[in-house]
């Protein structure tokens, strides 16, 4: 089909040569925009019609085939057929109509006036019908496409009525919600959240207050009790005159995403633990080293003491026996041995060795206590925790690996208990501390690094500041510093996940994290956490 102005196409199939000539002449009167194609047989006529998408087929009565056969072979999209009937043969016209002709024109004197009028009228009708059916088809296609998308999309789609009942849902919704097909309709949406008061269910707020949600994370409960994390977008549904019709919600199953996040978290945790283990091993190895060496030495000292005691016993025996010579010999032998083993020093040093070893074991005890405190974690639930203590127990552990490179200053303000995931926050603090330590090490080794920890309350937020005087970061680095896998460190030193993990954890707590720095001027990370944690949306 050409893109130009729609030309009228008419196919003429006339056996009778005179009729054909008269027909073509009559149609010419319609103007140059009419394209006329001639065909010998009905089959050829049909081919022509389809070839040029003709608007009309004109056929005389002298054809070899039955008119009915031709008309039965027409498709709905094919044009109407106008039949030319010889003058005075009205019977044939009736028959033609019966067989399905759209109209008949008699080969009478006024033929070349009547035919163009009839032809034009048929073309107009055909075009109107064709346009209508095209529009209908387009609408039907659109509807089918819509239906196809809704039925097959990877997201769940749920439409709620004004009462909050499920009016429609797609198969994905049924899959995610774990409900057999067709069983969701009519069910109140808040029953998907049995653990949340009805007015706090996110759909309720959309219905009652028109609140829109985008990518909100929440958890639904399946009939079998399993929990599914989902990301929901929800908007009120309004009619063409603005009347409330309900709400429409789209949500995705976030189980896999959550699992991946968990893996990333775990990877980062393992990398940090490796560094920590090195620091802690060093901290334990020092006291273990001298305790072990001291114990070894003390065994030698005990051997000397035993020999001394044997001499004391011999002296006692000699005294009991009352023989002066033997007594004098025993006393001399004891004195000689005491000199030999340096008994006075030995007893003093034994006391020192015991005291120092006890100190060492006390240090190990502390390290183990710090570790226990650091690794103490609740389950998956949030709990009220002391942020200062979270920070301090983390610093105690991390500091063991950095105490040769940096001094640590602590300046803690009073902070009320905060509802949080303590272990996750400890990981944030650990990542910030390890980062500070690495920034100090990269700066060089001439003067000692400094890490300052400060906490305070500002309005309704708790602020934790980790400040170092390390190499600092450029403004380009600062823009990307919380991106996953962004690292300025050598391969193998950083995972590039530390700060992005910290960022995600802080965001999950409804808080913010930001950094101020300039190259060479150290860096200051500030974590702000709401004192009253926001309720997790449901």
């Amino acid at each position: 089909m050409s893109d130009g102005p729609p030309r009228v196409g008419i196919v003429v199939a006339a056996h009778d040569e005179l009729t054909r000539a008269a027909t073509v002449a009559a149609l010419r009167r319609l103007g140059a925009d009419v394209r006329i194609e001639l065909a010998g047989s009905d089959d050829e006529a049909l081919d022509r019609v389809r070839e040029i998408s003709a608007d009309l087929l004109i056929r005389d009565h002298a054809s070899a085939q039955r008119l009915g056969t031709l008309i039965e072979g027409l498709r709905p999209s094919d044009p109407p057929v106008v039949v030319i009937v010889p003058a005075g043969q009205d019977r044939l016209a009736v028959k033609a109509f019966r067989e399905g002709a759209a109209d008949c024109v008699t080969r009478s004197d006024d033929y070349d006036e009547v035919l163009p009028v009839v032809a034009l009228e048929q073309v107009r009708r055909h075009r109107a019908a064709r346009d209508r059916s095209r529009a209908e088809r387009r609408l039907r296609d659109l509807e089918e496409l819509n239906e196809h998308i809704i039925q097959n999309m990877n997201s769940a789609l749920v439409v709620l009525d004004t009462e909050g009942r499920i009016a429609f849902c797609n198969p994905t919704a049924e899959t995610i919600l774990g409900v057999p097909a067709g069983e969701l309709s009519g069910r109140p949406a808040w029953t998907l959240f049995p653990n949340t008061p009805r007015e706090r269910v996110l759909f309720s707020r959309t219905l009652d207050e028109g609140v829109r949600y985008r990518g909100e994370e929440t958890v639904i409960t399946r009939p079998d009790g399993t929990l599914v994390p989902i990301g929901v977008s929800c908007a009120p549904l309004a009619g063409s005159e603005g009347q409330r019709l309900g709400a429409v919600a789209i949500f995705q199953d976030l189980s896999e995403v959550k699992e991946l996040q968990q893996q990333v978290l775990q990877t980062e945790k393992m990398a940090s633990i490796g560094q920590l283990a090195a620091g802690v091993a060093h901290e334990i190895n020092n006291p273990m080293g001298f305790i072990h060496a001291n114990l070894f030495q003390m065994t030698e000292y005990l051997g000397d003491l035993r020999r001394l005691w044997e001499h004391v016993e011999a002296l006692q025996q000699a005294a009991a026996d009352g023989k002066p010579d033997a007594l004098r010999d025993a006393a001399e032998a004891l004195e000689k041995l005491a000199r030999e083993v340096d008994a006075r020093f030995l007893i003093g040093d034994l006391e020192n060795a015991v005291r120092e070893s006890l100190e060492g074991s006390e240090r190990i005890r502390h390290i183990v206590r710090d570790l226990r405190e650091f690794s103490h974690q609740g389950g998956d639930d949030r709990e009220l925790a002391d942020l200062n203590q979270c920070l301090d127990s983390t610093a105690n552990i991390v500091w063991s690996m950095m105490k040769h490179a940096a001094v640590l200053e602590r300046d803690y303000g009073t902070i009320p208990p905060v509802l949080c995931y303590p272990m996750q926050l400890k990981q944030v603090f650990m990542n910030l501390l390890v980062n500070a330590y690495q920034a100090i090490r990269e700066r060089g080794e001439d003067d000692r690094g400094e890490i300052r920890l400060r906490t305070r309350v500002e309005g309704d937020t708790a602020v934790v500041v980790v400040e170092d005087n390390g190499i600092g970061i450029t403004s380009e680095q600062r823009d990307r510093i919380f991106d996953p896998f962004f690292t300025t460190k050598e391969v193998g030193v950083g995972t590039g996940l530390g700060l992005s993990t910290a960022f995600n954890i802080v965001r999950r707590h409804g808080g913010t994290i930001h950094v101020e720095s300039r190259p060479g001027g150290g860096a200051t990370f500030e974590v702000a956490l709401p004192l009253r944690a926001p309720e997790p949306a449901a």
Binding site: G289, A353, H404
Partner: protein
Amino acid sequence: MSERTSGRARRLLLVDDEARILSSLRRALRREGYEVHTAESPDEALRALDAGSFDLILADYRMPGMTGVEFLARAAERWPDAVRILLTGWSEQVPRAALEAAGVRALLEKPWDPEALKRVIRDSVGP
């Protein structure tokens, strides 16, 4: 060991920022007949090296200011004949190349075996 040191007690310099380690080393070596000197930092140890020669220098790896390997490399510049031994709590962290460059003869892991320590020193400088 070299002729230079024969005929007098061997001089050892032990360097660790952990006083208790030095104390236990001194305790273990008391009856071995050495002249034992200790230093609690690389700086202090470098001053001791300026004041006199040593037959053996034993240093901890992780110390403030510089690592034990860096310190031993500097000690070698001053007294190239001194046997150098490194004591470390985490030997995987010690760069092998630096260890070789500093001419470290032996590497002892914390916690160390007291008998092995005495044997290494005895084998290096004699009784």
